[in-house]
Amino acid sequence: MNWVGHYNYWVVIFLMMSGFYVVISRGNMIKKLLGLNIFSTSVFLLYISMGKIHGGTAPILTDNPNQVYSNPLPHVLILTAIVVGVATTAVGLALVVRIQERYGTIEEDEIRAKDDSL
């Protein structure tokens, strides 16, 4: 078991968890979206880490026939996932803006209080 070889994964897991922590521990809705962003960006890092080969280059054809290329498939998957991420952020933000207009706040506990008081 080569422990040193996994440091990259572990740091990425730490990043993921800090994003996840923001999502579940904060009441501010924009802050939660920031957390989601960190969470998903770190998952992207995990995927790309998997595709890396030591001594490889970017998967763009070169003249050298013996060139080692990194795995292009995770890159493609993550390109798609990035788009999904920004789309989710935008929709979430639209909801937050509407919530601010209708409730006058974006703190979850204040919103809950306003809902309960009705």
Partner: protein, 331 residues
């Protein structure tokens, strides 16, 4: 050397993430998130994922940050309560993290060329794609041809987001609000007064649009493609809107035009797929588009990248308009 850069970047990423967790000023947190994205883009370059880095830089650092700032300016700039249920969250997070670390125990080491991930499907993409599909950039071949259907889904996701924003926030052309011209509170309408900015924008915007076109049509040979090009083109328009005001930008590219463009991009993509079926191939089987399979692939990839670019451009600008025109709106 690679490892050194790797560790340096990872350290910076950790510091930035912790700062985002702690800072309660949302403005700072959003800017730090932009830095986080930029750092992860550098990390992607270091891990040979140039296309991903390009997209992350354009989206995470560019569009996301702009949208978040706009959204924040419409709401609160400060988080009120720092902690919600810190202990419970910490426990959940630690368990999740521990499970993940446990899961990595049986993974091959980072960068191991013998890992099974590199030996099954990926080998065909690396060895055959220049012969079967054509573009030297393998990411483009996989994205547009082998997994072109995923990219269709991705384009639809973007369209969905745009339409969701329009449905939720509404899209109306408003007259200039009296407050926007008088108050000096960093409202972007004011930037018309900045002579230097205006001149610089006039120099830059054509260059940005030109660069977007380069990225669009050079995606076969280097990093880039429809998605990145769309985002860059949109950022040119957004810059215009920031400097010369929303009204002026809406006169240049109005919302109806964007709506039609967004729909047409997706229709173009789907249309290419349907055309392939009509010509006797499977859905998105570009080989059927021309007599020579390679030509067919080339044509197909060109067209669908164009479709992606157009839709992404239109939706990104629509998103910006949707938030920006919400300013001063009361429910």
């Amino acid at each position: 050397m690679e490892v050194f850069i790797d560790i340096a970047l990872l350290t910076l990423l950790c510091i930035t993430a912790m700062a985002v967790v702690h800072i309660r000023k949302l403005f700072c947190a959003i800017m730090l998130l932009g830095i986080f994205s930029l750092l992860s883009a550098s990390m992607f370059v270091n891990m040979d994922a140039v296309d991903v880095a390009f997209t992350e830089a354009a989206v995470g650092t560019g569009i996301s940050t702009i949208l978040l700032l706009l959204g924040m300016s419409l709401t609160n700039t400060r988080e009120k309560r720092p902690h919600y249920q810190p202990l419970f969250s910490l426990v959940v997070v630690s368990i999740t993290g521990a499970v993940l670390v446990y899961g990595t125990m049986d993974l091959p080491a980072y960068g191991d060329p013998n890992a099974s991930i590199h030996h099954h499907v990926a080998q065909r993409y690396i060895k055959q794609s220049p012969l079967e599909v054509g573009p030297p950039n393998m990411v483009t071949s996989v994205l547009a041809s082998y997994r072109g259907y995923d990219t269709l889904g991705e384009t639809a996701v973007i369209l969905t987001a745009g339409m969701a924003l329009v449905a939720l926030l509404g899209m109306r052309r408003r007259k200039v609000l009296p407050m926007s011209s008088s108050s000096g509170c960093g409202d972007y309408h004011d930037m018309k007064d900045h002579l230097v900015l205006r001149i610089m924008a006039k120099i830059f915007i054509p260059l940005i649009l030109l660069f977007a076109l380069y990225v669009q049509f050079h995606g076969d040979y280097g990093p880039g493609g429809g998605f990145q090009a769309g985002v860059i083109f949109a950022s040119g328009i957004i810059l215009y809107a920031l400097i010369f005001g929303l009204e002026a930008a809406m006169k240049v590219v109005g919302y109806p035009v964007l709506r039609v463009l967004a729909a047409c991009g997706l229709l173009l993509y789907g249309g290419v797929g349907v055309a392939c079926m009509a010509l006797g191939g499977n859905f998105l089987d570009y080989n059927a588009l021309a007599h020579d399979p390679l030509h067919g692939q080339h044509l197909g990839i060109f067209l669908i990248e164009l479709g992606v670019g157009v839709t992404v451009f239109a939706i990104m600008v629509i998103m910006f308009y949707a938030f920006a025109s919400r300013r001063g709106h009361t429910a």
